[in-house]
């Protein structure tokens, strides 16, 4: 039987360098959120000083004008998502905030080390569970938790994945806890999106704050597209001298289509749809004007279920029939590998610190959020007793569905959830309500704090690289903790500083 998660966390916390990583034994919802710009005493943190001076010098009208310039930039570039209504379809831009979020160099180097460590361990975990399953035999992670997870793909068993790089593109969601430490809220190993907003936000903020940007010493994120391309090429480079890479999109009606086209354009590779691909005798070809051309690496932005109607969902028209067999035969590489979702499963998440320790013999640099597994009777008891304080999530669900937010729930809702928890405890986990940190945002021409998270992007092929930047998602409603773009969330540029001696200059 695996140890209780609290114990696991405490164990990993003991040996880490700073004491702030100790998880709190009981959730303390009253702790004020961490303010990215100001310390508790109300002083502006040094890395925000230049920006503070700059925006202090601008009148509300000037700020509003820059905000409009920013929105025009997005609209003109076509960085929009489509809202389908009953009468007509309209295109909107993702709300974008003018003021960048700033992360000092020393904080970033810790985040970077933590992300590399985590993805390395998760790739090893995937290679193991789709191979020898040593970790399951050693009882570190419960066997049924992994093998019964809906995202586990039996089809991937014993399949060779170059460099054991299963999750080639990973976008982890980090949050900053009230004590100032970053923690991982979620790993996204399937088809993480948002990187185009990271790049587009940067383009835009260079236009609207050129002076502050130049002075701050912001690390460049321009290399993301070519790093992505070389990561993808490294997946087939051992047997194809110049691999043909393509981006596979579900099509123009997908809400992330802009991103697919953007990445294909910046990498200079074809953007294909399922109907452009043909599989013949376990080789994958694309239909070109000059006939069929072989494809070696597919960066797919289509979910596992839809990539091959012969192997996964039969009613899918988004993939290519026979693609998975070609993959098994080693004639094409699918990135990310199918079945990576099992490692970002909400229940497996709770074991990640243990997984890191098991494979790397190290303590997790970035801690988890404390998580209670309802499958454990003792933890279930704790969850049932504290339903009004906890967030309960269904393991298989995402996007805020099947979720109970304790502090905002009614007694009847808690009663329903308690019944559901008792009926299928293994389907649920619970976490304390997390106070996201706040960053200054421009709301109706005034600057107000809003809750933010942080999604950096990590690439893994022959080696693991973290781009020094991230998508900062913003909950634009006052007090709201929901940063999803579908629920009133926006985004803003994220400046990772290079740690030059003077820091930020005006």
């Amino acid at each position: 039987m695996p140890p209780h998660l609290e114990e696991a966390c405490v164990e990993s916390g003991v040996t880490t360098a700073t004491s702030v990583n100790h998880p709190m034994p009981e959730p303390v919802p009253s702790a004020p959120p961490y303010d990215e710009m100001r310390s508790v005493e109300g002083l502006v943190r040094p890395h925000y000083a230049a920006l503070e001076t700059r925006i202090g010098a601008l009148s509300p009208a000037q700020l509003a004008e820059r905000q409009m310039a920013l929105e025009r930039f997005f609209l003109l570039q076509g960085i929009t998502f489509t809202v389908y209504g009953a009468e007509s379809t309209t295109e909107r831009i993702i709300p974008t905030d003018l003021l960048p979020r700033i992360i000092p160099a020393e904080e970033w180097s810790r985040i970077e080390a933590g992300l590399i460590q985590r993805l390395q361990a998760l790739n090893m975990f995937l290679a193991d569970i789709y191979g020898e399953q040593q970790i399951l035999m050693d009882g570190v992670v419960p066997r049924e938790l992994v093998l019964c997870a809906p995202s586990y793909r039996r089809e991937m068993q014993n399949l060779f994945v170059p460099h054991s790089a299963y999750a080639n593109v990973c976008g982890s969601d980090l949050i900053r806890r009230p004590d100032g430490a970053f923690a991982v809220l979620e790993d996204n190993l399937r088809v993480p999106s948002g990187v185009s907003y990271m790049l587009a936000n940067r383009e835009a903020s260079k236009r609207v704050f050129p002076g502050a940007f130049r002075g701050a010493g912001v690390r460049s994120i321009d290399r993301y597209p070519d790093l992505l391309l070389s990561t993808l090429k490294s997946m087939a480079a051992d047997w194809r001298s110049n691999p043909q890479v393509v981006v596979l999109t579900p099509g123009v009606y997908n809400s992330a289509y802009y991103e697919h086209a953007y990445l294909a354009r910046l990498m200079g590779v074809p953007l294909v749809e399922g109907r452009d691909l043909v599989v013949h005798e376990n080789f994958v070809y694309m239909r070109t004007t000059t006939g069929l051309k072989r494809v070696d690496v597919i960066y797919r932005r289509v979910d596992d279920d839809f990539i091959d109607p012969l192997t996964f969902r039969r009613d899918s028209a988004l993939g290519a029939a026979g693609l998975f067999n070609a993959y098994r035969a080693g004639n094409v590489v699918i990135c990310n590998a199918p079945g990576t979702g099992v490692a970002d499963d909400k229940a497996v998440y709770a074991y990640v610190p243990r997984i890191i320790e098991y494979y790397l013999g190290e303590d997790a640099i970035l801690p988890n959020i404390e998580t209670f597994l309802c499958r454990e009777p003792a933890q279930l008891g704790h969850v049932l007793a504290n339903l009004d304080k906890l967030v309960v999530k269904a393991v298989g669900a995402s996007g805020g569905y099947g979720m109970l937010v304790g502090p905002h729930s009614t007694k009847a809702e808690r009663g329903d959830f308690a019944a559901a928890l008792r009926a299928r405890p293994d389907n649920y986990i619970a976490q304390p309500t997390v106070q996201l940190s706040t960053a200054p945002c421009l709301v109706d021409s005034t600057i107000e704090p809003r809750h933010v998270d942080l999604r950096p992007f990590i690439l893994s092929g022959e080696k693991i690289v973290v781009t020094p930047g991230a998508l900062t998602r913003v909950a634009l409603k006052r007090g709201s903790l929901v940063v999803n773009s579908s629920q009133g969330g926006g985004s803003k540029d994220t400046w990772v500083l290079d740690g030059g001696p003077e820091g930020v200059r005006p």
Binding site: L76, R265, M286, R287
Partner: protein, 314 residues
């Protein structure tokens, strides 16, 4: 090398952009000509509406009411907004293949034409509104010419432009000279208006002077070698682009769209105006339009929707 689907989209961007421009011009001529209350003005209105594919005589009574759907009706697939939406939708699908400069021109125009203020701007000054749209479409083509690589993708774009243009001019001339026309085209005002619809008035005057005759008009719009909207000029470009595309395609032998375009090119090059007149322009025009349609079909069969069995590796 490019995806067949991408080539298809680029081709249709070209067609839709050309169609939108033609519709702008028809709308402009319609509203301008009908400022006069003459029989000639009514004839021009009939021609524009027939060329726009809406030959409904009842509409001529109120030209402004007739022009609105020409510009904004999304249910009419040939309207300006529908054409622009089609072009933009295709451009969005191949956003990775066209330059940002090109995309921005098209996107901006689309956003303006479909924005909330568009119909009001049209009401307040239709001529200015339509001419601005035409100028924007010229900017789009200019941006494509100046920023896109003149490779395969650009050639498919240009194939769309020129094939659509040849067919639009052909259809306009069929309305004027075809068998089912109501009155023979002879009035000076009507002839001038037809030249305006094809953006040909000034170039025509330089060749034939202000002595405007139906025969010369037909000759100019069908057989002139230098005027960019004559069918012959378009055919020459189609033939050029097709032979370049087939060179990219490395398809052995004489590919069939290539051959069809070459044949049409030769036919127009050696055509004799007197013979055409004697045999009736109507038959000749119908023939040319059939050939254009055949080129479109052959293009599809060779480069876009080819049967897979023939292309699989042995």
């Amino acid at each position: 090398m490019m995806l067949a689907r991408v080539a298809d989209s680029l081709y249709w961007i070209g067609r839709y952009v050309e169609r939108a421009e033609h519709m702008c011009r028809l709308g402009d001529v319609l509203l301008n000509a009908t400022l006069d209350r003459t029989e000639a003005a009514n004839q021009v209105a009939r021609i524009t509406l027939a060329a726009a594919g809406r030959p409904d005589p009842a509409r001529i009574a109120d030209p402004y009411e007739a022009a609105i759907p020409l510009a904004f009706d999304r249910d009419n697939e040939d309207s300006i907004t529908s054409s622009l939406a089609g072009a933009r939708e295709n451009a969005r699908q191949v956003r990775d293949q066209i330059t940002t400069e090109t995309w921005e021109r098209l996107n901006l125009l689309y956003l303006r034409m479909t924005g909330p203020g568009a119909e009001r701007a049209f009401t307040e000054g239709s001529s200015g509104f339509l001419n601005e749209a035409i100028a924007d479409l010229h900017l789009f083509k200019g941006a494509a010419d100046a920023t896109m690589s003149h490779g395969e993708g650009w050639r498919f774009l240009m194939l769309g432009v020129h094939l659509e243009r040849a067919q639009l001019i052909g259809r306009l001339l069929e309305v004027c000279f075809g068998e089912d026309r109501a009155v023979p085209l002879s009035d000076h005002f009507a002839l001038t208006s037809v030249l305006r619809m094809s953006c040909a008035l000034e170039p025509y005057l330089r060749v034939y002077t202000a002595d405007i005759r139906p025969k010369h008009l037909l000759e100019f719009l069908v057989l002139d070698e230098e005027f960019p909207r004559s069918i012959r000029f378009c055919t020459n470009r189609i033939e050029e682009h097709l032979s370049a595309v087939s060179r990219h395609a490395e398809i052995a032998g004489h590919s069939s769209p290539d051959r069809l375009a070459g044949r049409l090119k030769a036919r127009l090059q050696y055509a004799d105006m007197t013979e055409i007149e004697a045999a009736g322009a109507s038959g000749f025009l119908a023939n040319v339009l059939d050939e254009c349609a055949a080129i479109h079909d052959a293009l599809y069969e060779t480069h876009v929707a080819y049967p897979l069995e023939l292309r699989l590796p042995a």
